[in-house]
């Protein structure tokens, strides 16, 4: 054991006590507030463990996180997805930004990021893989969406710092880029309803080089078993979009898990001749085999994964051959580290990646770096339309360039070190945190709870 580590603080000093005195040492500090598992913990005392953490001192980069700040940013006071941004400050003046936006649960994600303060403050930010593992494993219960988003925010900020410290864009650290011109993307097209709007969309897309759009289902909610009228309407809706956009533009359809596997099986099979790029979330994500029912009954490619946390959350989908395209979300899966691991595992099974991005611009830019280093990358989402709106104007105002806007059908890669942008706290203060707001709540005709 390195003797210098004993000087690391009170906890480290406790580690010098022989094993038999450890329990006594603990009891003098605080009343026991443990679960009754002292015998297990005593085998590897907390003091000794802190000393082991200090063992990295000799390997330190010299860069140290000195502060963690969390920002809730509501573009509109009633936004259901205030951006949750993380800022890490360091002893050398470098700052790292990350995003842990969790729709509908902003305050929970912000609190969870605060819970991780001790995991990063005082630590060497270069060790992102190590800190990620500690946040995930040492949280014991493993990660759901709240913890996944919190880890995502911190992970992105750590990657940003590492890129800046090493003086390169993050995609270089990941082994990219696949393509210097950037990352292929798609816009949403739910706002194009009429035949005229669809014709205009096709024209604009061809002019601007946009090669893919995503649409939704025509009805707001679907029952467990559905009627002829609603199934027919869904099929005809997709047929009409294909007819109006033509065969050269790819079409993806987001079922948004509104449908049960029973209803999805019917629609997905019937739209086979349309050769969609993919159908997204044909049913909710908890039961992988239930989604497998849909997947095995049609040639239409199945995409899912935006709600899944860490590579563990995607394992069953991949190994059972249920998913064709994974839509991992960098703001929930566990940041760049989580997204990269999902992509790596998916690639081994020849599953493609089409990452989800429906939150803020930091996660959007962060995902481009990982995309550009994935051998199995297909396409990148952004929840924007072909014409930029208010949200995109704010983003451009923050960054000084328009993030997540395609040029010739591709998102340009950031060129600056780290994630590739500068952001000032002052520019965020114009959009104060409006608190958590629930996401859409949809009910069936009989008032019962529906998926949306």
């Amino acid at each position: 054991m390195n003797r210098r580590n004993f000087l690391g603080g009170a906890a480290a000093i406790a580690a010098t006590a022989p094993a038999s005195r450890i329990a006594a040492a603990v009891s003098t500090t605080r009343p026991a507030d443990r679960c009754g598992c002292e015998p297990i913990i005593a085998q590897s005392s907390r003091g000794e463990q802190s000393a082991r953490a200090e063992a990295f001192r000799d390997l330190s980069s010299g860069l140290k996180v000195t502060n963690l700040k969390v920002f809730g940013v509501s573009l509109t006071p009633d936004s259901d997805r205030p951006y949750v941004f993380v800022k890490l400050e360091t002893n050398q003046g470098l700052v790292g930004w990350g995003e842990g936006t969790l729709e509908g649960k902003a305050q929970a994600a912000m609190s969870c990021i605060e819970d991780f303060r001790d995991f990063v403050v005082g630590k060497d930010p270069m060790q992102v893989e190590h800190h990620w593992q500690s946040m995930y494993v040492h949280s014991f219960y493993r990660a759901g969406p709240v913890m996944g988003s919190a880890i995502s925010g911190i992970d992105q900020a750590l990657w940003d710092l590492r890129g800046k410290a090493l003086g390169v864009p993050v995609y270089q650290l990941l082994g990219g880029p696949n393509n210097q011109k950037g990352v292929r993307g798609y816009y949403h097209a739910e706002n194009a309803r009429s035949d005229e709007q669809l014709a205009k969309l096709r024209e604009t897309a061809l002019q601007e080089g946009v090669s893919c759009f995503k649409i939704g289902l025509p009805d707001q909610e679907y029952e467990w078993i559905e009627t002829h009228a609603k199934i027919d309407r869904a099929v005809k809706h997709m047929q009409r979009i294909r007819e109006k956009l033509g065969d050269t533009i790819d079409i993806a359809v987001d079922f948004h898990a509104k449908t049960s596997p029973s209803v999805a099986s019917i629609i997905v099979k019937e739209v086979e001749p349309l050769r969609l790029l993919f159908v997204e979330e044909p049913c909710p994500p908890e039961n992988v085999q239930a989604m497998g029912r849909v997947a095995s009954r049609s040639t239409t490619p199945i995409a899912t994964g935006e709600r899944l946390v860490a590579a563990y959350g995607c394992r069953e989908l991949i190994e059972m051959g249920i998913v064709d395209i994974l839509q991992t979300d960098i703001n929930h899966v566990g940041g760049l580290t989580g997204l990269w691991k999902v992509a790596a595992m998916a690639n081994i099974s020849n599953v493609s990646m089409a990452p989800h991005a429906c939150e803020g611009p930091i996660g959007g830019l962060a995902t481009l770096h990982v995309d550009s280093a994935m051998p199995n990358f297909l396409i990148q989402e952004i929840c924007s339309f072909v014409q930029p709106g208010d949200k995109e104007r704010v983003w451009a105002e923050w960054f000084g360039f328009p993030p997540m806007r395609m040029v010739n059908g591709r998102f340009p890669l950031p060129t600056k070190p780290g994630l590739g942008f500068e952001l000032s706290e002052a520019s965020l203060s114009k959009y104060p945190f409006g608190g958590s707001k629930p996401m859409a709540r949809v009910f069936h005709e009989d008032g019962s709870v529906g998926e949306w």
């Binding site: 009627t227 049960s260 099986s265 019917i266 908890e286």
Partner: protein, 363 residues
Amino acid sequence: MNHVMKRRKALVSFTQAEPTGNATGTQHAISDVRAFRVPGSDSASSYVVLEVRTQTGLLGYGECRELSSPELKATREVAMGRPASAYETLRPMTPQNAQAAIDMALLDILGKATKAPVYRVLGGPTRTKARAIVRLAGSSDEELAKDLQKQRAAGFAAFLVPIPAPAARNQGSAYVQAGVARFKAMRAAAPDADFAFECSDQLTPSDTATLAAAVELMHPLWFDAPCPVTNLSTLHKIADETVVPLGFGRDISSPGTYQDLLRSGLIDLLRPDLLVHGISGIRRLAAMAETYYVAVSPWHAAGPIASAAALHLAASIPNFFIVQLPGSGAGTATPQGGFFPLPTGAGLGVEVDVHALERNQIV
């Protein structure tokens, strides 16, 4: 006593509710259990009404298919002196035939004791009304179309259509054409209505797959009980070849069979009988089915008490789809715009005229 018997006894004693003597609060101790046979036009439509009385003077009613004198006696022995609230605890201790009725009756009492509809006791309402389906009467396309108009006028929007009766196993082209023609006839008679094909276990798996594939693009709501649920591997023939939803359950009494069907991806709608599983039994099935994104469509062929129980069940679970209630007449809920309204009275909300039943008391 052999090993198995010892284990079973241990399990029963583990679940046994204490007699109310030691308990606190108003326990509504069960003081009597009576049963009355309600004759039907045939053995399939006769049923039994069970009446549970408490020391506090509350009465609860339930229905079951059949109950013998020894079964009634055993039920009474289990129930006497125990708290009426213990519907989950007493159910496994009572004879199989009485379980659905004791479940409904105790929930009825619990609702009356708390002055709440049963769905409120159970954490509902989860919906404001219950989607309805009715079986069309008749054997020819013409008769069915005639009944269709009658039932549409009565407020139904979804209909169970019996398939043409197959003459033999493994039907050929003519039979499939007759099935397609029947579905088309129904659709033509009511283009905005929806239809499930009632097969009553009459088909083989391959016949089901063939007929279902032939009507797939017309979107039947589901194929009901296409064939008996036996070896699940044989049912894959249907689900592999067609996406028409499959409803099973009319002949399933074991909850484990539903679990096997769900795990194998062979069922799109659970069709449990209220008189086999009771409200509580179906709530457990629903809880399991929810994890497969599959809904429950309860049915029964008894009387107004079970019909009320079905509506309370529908309003107490999230994954209810549609309910099939028998017949029409006094005390029967009538649908509006394809939905049954929910009962509002305390308990099951059904007034039972015991005097009319007493002639057929089981002793």
